[in-house]
């Protein structure tokens, strides 16, 4: 009687080990994919590590690798900002450019203020116009009060 129960226990233990091994194998196989950020967008987004790079200020977007994505091709506007006017400082690139394009898609005209990144600002302007809205570009330093006053005056002239 005692012998039979020992061998039954042995069977259970070996069953448990089999289950354990199977799970361990699965874990090892899936560990790599668990370390990656999830992809839940309508398209694949780049995943770090990105190449090391260091560029001189003021920061030009066109030299970045990978190129930042700002076009949001799957996002459809619905006139949430219809005929509004948005001044965006640092609107030439980065978050500012993405905002400029999506504000335009929602129906706003955009004024892009930038320090010295002419080529980036031109890309943003073209993208805003591609959304069917107007884009005014003004270059200068927001740390200077006189420039900010001038930028608002030019906005009022153009869209006021």
């Amino acid at each position: 009687m005692a012998e039979a129960s020992t061998s039954k226990a042995g069977t259970t233990v070996s069953k448990q080990r089999r289950i354990q091994k199977m799970v361990a194998r699965k874990d090892a196989a899936s560990r790599k994919s668990q370390d990656r950020p999830m992809q839940t967008g309508a398209r694949r987004y780049p995943v770090p590590p990105f190449p090391k790079q260091h560029y001189p200020k003021p920061g030009h977007e066109r030299v970045l690798d990978p190129q930042p994505m700002y076009d949001a091709p799957f996002y459809r506007g619905s006139q949430k900002l219809q005929d509004k006017v948005a001044i965006i400082t640092g609107g030439d690139s980065g978050i500012g450019r993405a905002v400029a394009v999506l504000f335009a898609r929602e129906g706003a005209d955009v004024v892009v203020l930038h320090l010295a990144e002419k080529a980036d600002a031109a890309v943003t302007k073209a993208a805003v116009e591609g959304e069917g809205r107007q884009c005014l570009v003004v270059a200068g330093d927001v740390a200077k009060r006189a420039f900010c006053e001038k930028a608002v005056a030019r906005t009022l002239d153009a869209f006021g």
């Binding site: 090391k52 996002y75 400082t89 999506l102």
Partner: protein, 162 residues
């Protein structure tokens, strides 16, 4: 929308020069203040000021002492100005993104850092914001963002109150 910023990291606090500190303050704080001062006299009820904050302004960031200081300042500026301008019907909000792949950052560090946390937190904060549009809210976005995401939150904050 106040967004223009200056950011250069200094790993050693002793490397953060007075000139560097001054440049960060002037661009990130004076820049926001100057634009608000210039724009507010012309803004009508329903108009919006939207400031770009940062997760560094909430958590701090050891190599961005000056930058995170300005971002924390921007968060307080946002809440204070929101209270101040609410009588004029002008809303003031901020979005506080985590790391975003832009030329601002690439002037600084080579590699982007990932923070992966539950984004539901963001969704909840956004919903609250939509029902309390008059109050300034700081949205802390804790995920590695590609730029479309902060932009998406911005239209939520900029559009007409419904």
């Amino acid at each position: 929308m106040n967004n223009a910023a200056f950011q250069v990291h200094s790993n050693d606090f002793e490397d953060l020069t007075a000139e560097h500190f001054d440049m960060t303050m002037k661009t990130n704080l004076y820049g926001y203040f100057n634009m608000a001062k210039a724009a507010v006299p012309h803004m009508r009820p329903g108009a919006v000021i939207l400031n770009t904050g940062s997760i560094t302004g909430i958590d701090g960031s050891k190599a961005l002492v000056d930058y995170s200081l300005t971002k924390g300042g921007i968060h307080a500026f946002t809440r204070s100005l929101a209270g101040n301008l609410v009588g004029k019907g002008i809303r003031v909000n901020a979005v506080a993104p985590g790391p975003v792949w832009t030329s601002l950052r690439q002037g600084g560090r080579g590699r982007i850092q990932i923070r992966l946390k539950d984004t539901n937190e963001t969704a909840c904060a956004t919903r609250r914001n939509r029902t309390r549009l008059r109050l300034s809210r700081i949205l802390a976005l804790f995920k590695l963002h590609h730029r479309r995401d902060p932009a998406h939150h911005r239209w939520l904050l900029a559009r007409r109150a419904e």
